[in-house]
């Protein structure tokens, strides 16, 4: 008996394959690495991520699908792959000293991060609901563990458990949705679902399936009202982990979200865009208003990430080429900026003691002018001030919405950005206008963290001043 795999092409999944291989190498190398040298395992992981990024660039511009239409390497997926690899590399840079300061210096940290990256890349490039589901699990499972990685800290354990329980719950919704879609169309392949819909646009089974799928995605990207886990998990998890999951999961899950809705469902008789528009309004408004009330920096950034998911959802409502490219650009800008913001929290923490309360940041600009200035710039970028990356991203999304007749949604988005400026400016005011808080003046900023911050800063400013190349790259679109 001969077995033949339909279009077996390992080149298409090369980035994910390389990262998976790196994870296995790091896992084996951990056995022979003595305790004080564990950080070299992180360096090994970084090298693997760089090689994977090289392979991703090598695939650029020649869309191909493989494994019988299970996975593709189109410019949409490759762009997200690069965003994910960039986010992972920067968060490993942030973690190298962080794990030592928090006494969780184990090689498994990097192994789990790399496993999660494999899941994220697969999720962003998958075109079959089965693969999307497995990729979702492959990215979630390591993150549950990473959230609980600091086992001496009850809050970290609580974050891991909470994330695990709610994540498992949302996975069940997701899977149930896939089952209904399969029942309605007889396939799990996104392109074939689109074909089935074109023949028969009214399909109640598919409607239920898509609704359940939406709930699953909404949990993962933290849309209101499926966001309850976010502040607790982001706050309780070790900060380096929070930084990683706040960007990586968003890029991967939004990738699959966009692909599922824009490839499979455009011919649907039911106009799902109005539902998404309502979710976007709720998510932006509630995220920003709740962030106003926070006194804890990590919780504030958690609500801010919820609000940003709302902005990105506007791009999905807008559909079309401009909506798609604006979302990709936004995810890139958000990745750099958010990693920078969490990175600054890590940079100015004193061993295990972190500046979690906003009042702890008082006078930081006088003691650590460079880090404080970078933190201020990241905050301004999150708020959407020109000429930073966050401004360009918001501009692209809102103009895509106006172009496609969703001007009212863009107006609500702009109003929300105005509200958000208040809480993003609060830590800046605190750093520059308040007296230094005693007990925070003997911090040695780790050079690698500073390096990560500078890299993110260069990206944020470059994307703001000269966004054209990134926008051109983001307009590749799907392979259908």
């Amino acid at each position: 008996m001969s077995l033949s795999v339909p279009d077996l092409n390992f080149r298409v999944i090369a980035p994910a394959l390389i990262v998976a291989l790196t994870a296995l190498i790091v896992l084996l190398a951990e056995l022979v690495t003595p305790a004080p040298r564990k950080r070299w395992l992180g360096v090994l992981g970084l090298i693997g991520l760089l090689i994977a990024a090289g392979a991703t660039v090598g695939l650029w511009g020649a869309p191909a699908s493989a494994f019988g239409g299970m996975v593709v390497a189109d410019n949409f997926g490759l762009f997200l792959t690069l965003v994910i690899l960039l986010g992972a590399a920067l968060s490993i840079l942030l973690a190298l000293d962080f794990v030592r300061a928090h006494r969780v210096d184990q090689g498994e940290y990097y192994v789990l991060v790399l496993f999660a990256v494999v899941g994220m890349i697969l999720m962003a490039t998958a075109t079959d609901l089965i693969v999307i589901f497995l990729a979702l699990e492959l990215l979630s499972l390591p993150l549950y563990i990473l959230a609980a990685f600091k086992r001496a800290d009850a809050r970290s354990l609580e974050a891991g458990l909470k994330y695990f329980l709610l994540g498992a719950f949302s996975s069940a919704f997701f899977l149930y949705g896939i089952a209904f879609i399969f029942g309605g169309t007889g396939t799990t392949n996104l392109m074939k679902i689109a074909d089935a819909l074109a023949k028969n646009p009214r399909n109640d089974l598919l409607l239920v399936g898509a609704g359940l799928l939406l709930v699953g995605f909404a949990f993962k990207v933290a849309l209101v009202p499926f966001h309850w886990w976010t502040p607790d998990v982001y706050d309780g998890a070790p900060t380096a982990v929070t930084a990683f999951m706040s960007v990586g999961v968003k890029a991967a899950a939004f990738g699959a979200f966009f692909r599922a809705f824009l490839v499979a469902l455009p011919a649907f008789a039911f106009d799902w865009r109005i539902v998404l528009a309502a979710l976007a309004v709720l998510t932006m408004t509630l995220g920003n208003v709740a962030a106003l009330l926070q006194s804890n920096v990590k919780r504030m950034l958690a609500y801010s990430s919820i609000a940003h998911a709302g902005y990105i959802l506007i791009a999905l409502v807008a559909m079309g080429a401009s909506g798609l490219s604006s979302a990709l650009f936004y995810l890139l800008a958000y990745t750099l900026t958010n990693l920078g913001a969490f990175g600054a929290v890590i940079a100015l923490s004193d061993g295990e003691r972190e500046r979690l309360e906003i009042r702890d940041w008082g006078g930081a600009a006088r003691q650590y002018p460079f880090i404080a200035a970078m933190f201020a710039i990241f905050m301004l970028s999150l708020a959407g001030f020109p000429p930073l990356a966050g401004f360009t991203g918001k501009f692209l999304i809102f103009s895509a919405a106006v172009e496609t007749g969703w001007a009212w949604l863009a107006v609500i988005g702009v109003l929300n950005s105005l509200v958000s400026a208040y809480f993003y400016l609060r830590p800046i005011v605190q750093m520059y206008m308040s007296e230094p808080v005693p007990g925070w003046d003997r911090i040695r900023v780790a050079p690698l963290v500073a390096l990560a911050l500078v890299l993110a800063l260069i990206g944020v400013i470059a994307l703001g001043l000269y966004p054209t190349p990134a926008i051109v790259m983001a307009t590749g679109g799907f392979l259908r």
Partner: protein, 166 residues
């Protein structure tokens, strides 16, 4: 109605009743061990439904994995957790009215869809031995998901060790 069809219906309703009864016991029991036993009954009922649907292999796997392994694991976990065995735990909390409302709405929606859908009967019966075909499909059409699952299991293994070790 022909006799085999009647038997199928009877089998389905018996198995569905067992599943629902077990599930009800699992969510309403105040004692965790009883709840776990209810879960086992529900899982056996689901295996029975697979049998009725002529998916014997899936049914056997269901019993092996869920009834045999996972339920035993749950029972062990309950028994090894101090103080969890004897105490009676409340099976509801303050949100049960809202939860019941949402569940009922969900049930109504699913019922409507199930009744309104024009279910297609499967015309072609897969001939021959099913298990080799399943294996072949896993290694060809579904090779990528298959490999993804293996990676997922490895990640779970590493994660379990990280969480559990002293």
């Amino acid at each position: 109605m022909s006799t085999p069809l009647v038997l199928t219906y009877v089998g389905f309703f018996v198995m569905a009743a067992i599943t629902l009864g077990g599930a009800l016991m699992a969510v309403s029991a105040r004692n965790l061990i009883r709840a776990a036993l209810g879960l086992i009954i529900a899982l056996i009922g689901i295996a029975g439904i697979y049998f009725v649907l002529e998916a014997e292999f899936v049914a056997v796997v269901q019993i092996l994995v869920y009834v045999g392994a996972i339920s035993i694991l749950i029972l062990f976990a309950v028994m090894l957790t101090r103080g969890l065995m004897k105490r009676d735990l409340p099976a509801q909390n303050a949100q049960w009215i809202a939860a019941a409302f949402i569940s009922l709405a969900m049930f109504a929606a699913l019922l409507y869809v199930a009744l309104s859908t024009n279910w297609r009967a499967v015309e072609t019966q897969v001939a021959g031995d099913l298990i080799p075909k399943l294996g072949t499909e896993l290694m060809t059409t579904y090779l990528l998901p298959f490999e993804a699952v293996s990676l997922l299991l490895l990640a779970a293994l590493v994660g379990a060790i990280v969480i559990a070790r002293e």
